[in-house]
Symmetry: C3
Subunit: 259 residues, 3 copies
C-alpha cells in the first residue's frame, strides 16, 4: 500500500481491544499516537456491539481469565461476521498449559487473521518444542522463518514473529523486518503495542501481510529515532511517543528482506 500512515491518519479507524491490565494504557496510547482511535471494552454484554462499530479487533491474552477468553470469542465472532481483521497476541503461550489451551480455544473457535507473538510463543502455537519464560521469548530450535511460513499456510492467516528480526508471513510471501532498536526491549509493552499498531494498519489495508510489515517497519523506525535521543528506558519511552506522532511515510526507510 502506498502511504499507509497517511491512509491510517485520514481514516482514523476504531480499534477494539480486549487486552491485558499491564500494558492496556500503552496499547491505547500508541494506537492514538499512530492516528487510529482505541477503545477497550470487555463486558460480555457489550463487547459484540463495540466490535460492531470498530474496524479491527485485538485479542491479547497477557492477563487472561476464562471470562476474558469468553468475551474474546464473542467479539471475534462479531468481527468475523463483519469481516474486520482479528489480531491475536499470544502473550505467554509456552509458559503455562492454560495459556496454550486458551490460545488453542480461540484459534479453534473463530477466524484469526493475524497471529502475533515472540519467537517461542509462535513456535509453541506451531507445535514446535518451545518454552516461554513468563512473557519473555527463549531461543527455539526450529528455523523461525519456516515456523512462520508453515503456521501461516496451515491456518490460512498472517503470522508475525517479533524479535531482533521481525518475521511476517502469509504462507506465500515472507518479510523479514530489521528496523527497530534494542532499547525497545528495555521497556515493558512494546510487543503489545506492536499488535495494536498491526491492527491499526490492517484496519485500512486488506492485505494483512503488507499491513503487518508496514506496522513493524514504522514502529521500528520510531524506535530507532527515539533511541538516538534517549538516556535510558524512561526517556526512550517518552521519545518513542513523540517520534511515532511525528512519523510520516517519507520518513520511513524499511530495512527488510523479502522471500
Amino acid at each position: 500500500m502506498k502511504d499507509p500512515l497517511k491512509t491510517l491518519r485520514d481514516t482514523r479507524p476504531l480499534i477494539h481491544h480486549i487486552t491485558n491490565w499491564v500494558t492496556i494504557y500503552d496499547c491505547a496510547n500508541i494506537t492514538r499516537a499512530f492516528g487510529a482511535l482505541p477503545v477497550m471494552a470487555h463486558a460480555p454484554e457489550e463487547c459484540a456491539d463495540m466490535t460492531g462499530i470498530s474496524s479491527a479487533l485485538v485479542l491479547n491474552i497477557g492477563t487472561l481469565t476464562t471470562g476474558l477468553i469468553d468475551c474474546m470469542i464473542i467479539s471475534a465472532t462479531a468481527a468475523n461476521r463483519k469481516g474486520i481483521p482479528v489480531v491475536l497476541d499470544a502473550v505467554g503461550v509456552g509458559a503455562t498449559k492454560f495459556r496454550d489451551d486458551m490460545a488453542a480455544k480461540i484459534l479453534n473457535s473463530v477466524r484469526v487473521d493475524i497471529i502475533k507473538g515472540n519467537y517461542s510463543e509462535v513456535a509453541k502455537l506451531a507445535g514446535e518444542h518451545a518454552q516461554t519464560k513468563g512473557v519473555e521469548a527463549t531461543s527455539i530450535a526450529a528455523d523461525p522463518r519456516q515456523v512462520a511460513r508453515t503456521l501461516a499456510g496451515s491456518r490460512s492467516c498472517t503470522v508475525v514473529m517479533t524479535g531482533k528480526e521481525d518475521i511476517i508471513s502469509d504462507g506465500k510471501r515472507t518479510f523479514v523486518v530489521r528496523n527497530g532498536h534494542d532499547q525497545m526491549g528495555s521497556i515493558v509493552g512494546t510487543g503489545c503495542m506492536a499488535a495494536s499498531i498491526i491492527a491499526s494498519f490492517a484496519a485500512v489495508n486488506s492485505d494483512h501481510c503488507d499491513a503487518a510489515k508496514d506496522a513493524l517497519c514504522y514502529f521500528g523506525v520510531a524506535g530507532e529515532l527515539a533511541a538516538g535521543k534517549s538516556g535510558g528506558p524512561g526517556s526512550f519511552k517518552m521519545h518513542l511517543y513523540d517520534e511515532v506522532y511525528h512519523l510520516s511515510d517519507e520518513k520511513v526507510e524499511p530495512m527488510m528482506d523479502f522471500e
Copy 2:
C-alpha cells in the same frame, strides 16, 4: 472560591475512584499531582467503607462490567448518605446500549452530583440523538450549552461537557471554559483525569459548579504551559504532570464566559 488550589493542597482530601483499567494510573497520579490523595478500591466487601473515609467519589465507566456497576451503586449510596460529591464520568455512553443502560441505572439508583462527559456522551444522556465512536465524541446536532443547562436543571445537578470548549452548568449558571490545548487530545486519558480533578476541587467546595469550573481552568492552564514545552505526546504528558505540580492560584488566568 478564593484560592481553590491552595485550599485543596491544604486539605488533601481522599478521592475514592471506581474507574477503568486503561487510565486508572493517570487518574491516581493526576489526583496526587494536584494535591489530593487518590484511592482505588472496587471490591463490593469494602467499597462502602472506603467511600466512608473519603471526601469525594469518582465513578468512571470506561471499562465497565455489571460487577463494577454494582460496586459503584454501593459506594454512591454511601457517598449520598455521607453527603460527599459523586462524579459520574459517562465514558462511552452513546457507543453501546449497555453503556447507556448502565449509566441510566446509576443515575436512577443514586444521587449523582456532577455528570461529566464529552459532547456526544452528555448529549446522549440528555436524550438527544448522539453517537460516540468508542470513547471519542462525534458532533451533535443540539446546542451543547442548552443540552448542559437542560440536563442540569432536570437532574438538579452540575453537568460538565468537555471538548474544545468546556461547558459547565448547574441549570442556572453556565460557564464556558476555553483554557486548554489541542495537545491534551493527543494522549489518552485527559478526559478521565479531568473527572478526578473535578472531584478533588468539589471535595473542598460545596458549590460544585464553581469547583468544576475551577478544575477545568486549572487543568487547561497546565495543558497550555505543557504544550509550549513539548515535542509530541510523550513529552507533553511528562510536562503536564510537572506543570500541574507547579501550578498556583496566581498562575491561572481563566479564559471563560459566564451566562
Copy 3:
C-alpha cells in the same frame, strides 16, 4: 551479598506478580529496569504453574478482590512448596476491615517471607492502633523500629516499613535506610515498585533481610539521582527509570544504620 545488582542482572530471575490495577505497569517496568523479568498472571487455572517457573512471588493487595486473594493463596502455596520468596505488600491495610481481614487470611494460610508496607499498614498488621488514609500512611504512636522487630520475630520473617526512613528487620538485625528523596512520594507507585524490587533482589539472595536492605538502598539512590535532574513528578518518573537502568554496584552509597 557482594555486587547484588550484578548478580540480579546476570541471573534475570522471573518475578511473578499478583498485584493491583493501578501500578501494575510500573511494577512490571521497574522489575525490568532493574534487570529481572516480570510476569503478571492472576487466573486461578494458571497462577500456580506461573509461580512454578518463577524465582519470587509478589502479592500486592492494592485493588484486592476475594477472587484475587484466592489466587494469591494458590500461588503462595506453590511458592512455599518450591522454596522461593513470597513478598506481601499490605497496601491499604488499616483503611478498611476487609483489607485487614484479607491480609490476615493470607498470613494465616501461607508462609510470607517478606511483609512490606508503609508505617501505618505494618503497624496495623502488628496489632498496633493505626489508620491508613486510603493507601497513605498516617503517623503511628508506636516506635516503628520496635514494631518491625517484633512483627518479624513473631512471624519469623523479614518486615519492611517504607517511609522517610525505611526500616528492615528480621527480628534480630534491623537496618534503617535513609537513601531516597521526597520526590518519590510525589508520584503514585513508588511503594509498589519497592516491593517488586525487593522481590527481585530476594530472588537471588536467600538472606531476605539483606536483599530488602539492598533493594531499598539501590532504589533510593536512583531516586536521589533522578530528583537532582527533575522539574516535577513527570520528569522525575522519567529520570527514575533512566537512573535505575544505569545503576551499578559501584554507584550506590548506602546511607544506613544497623542495629
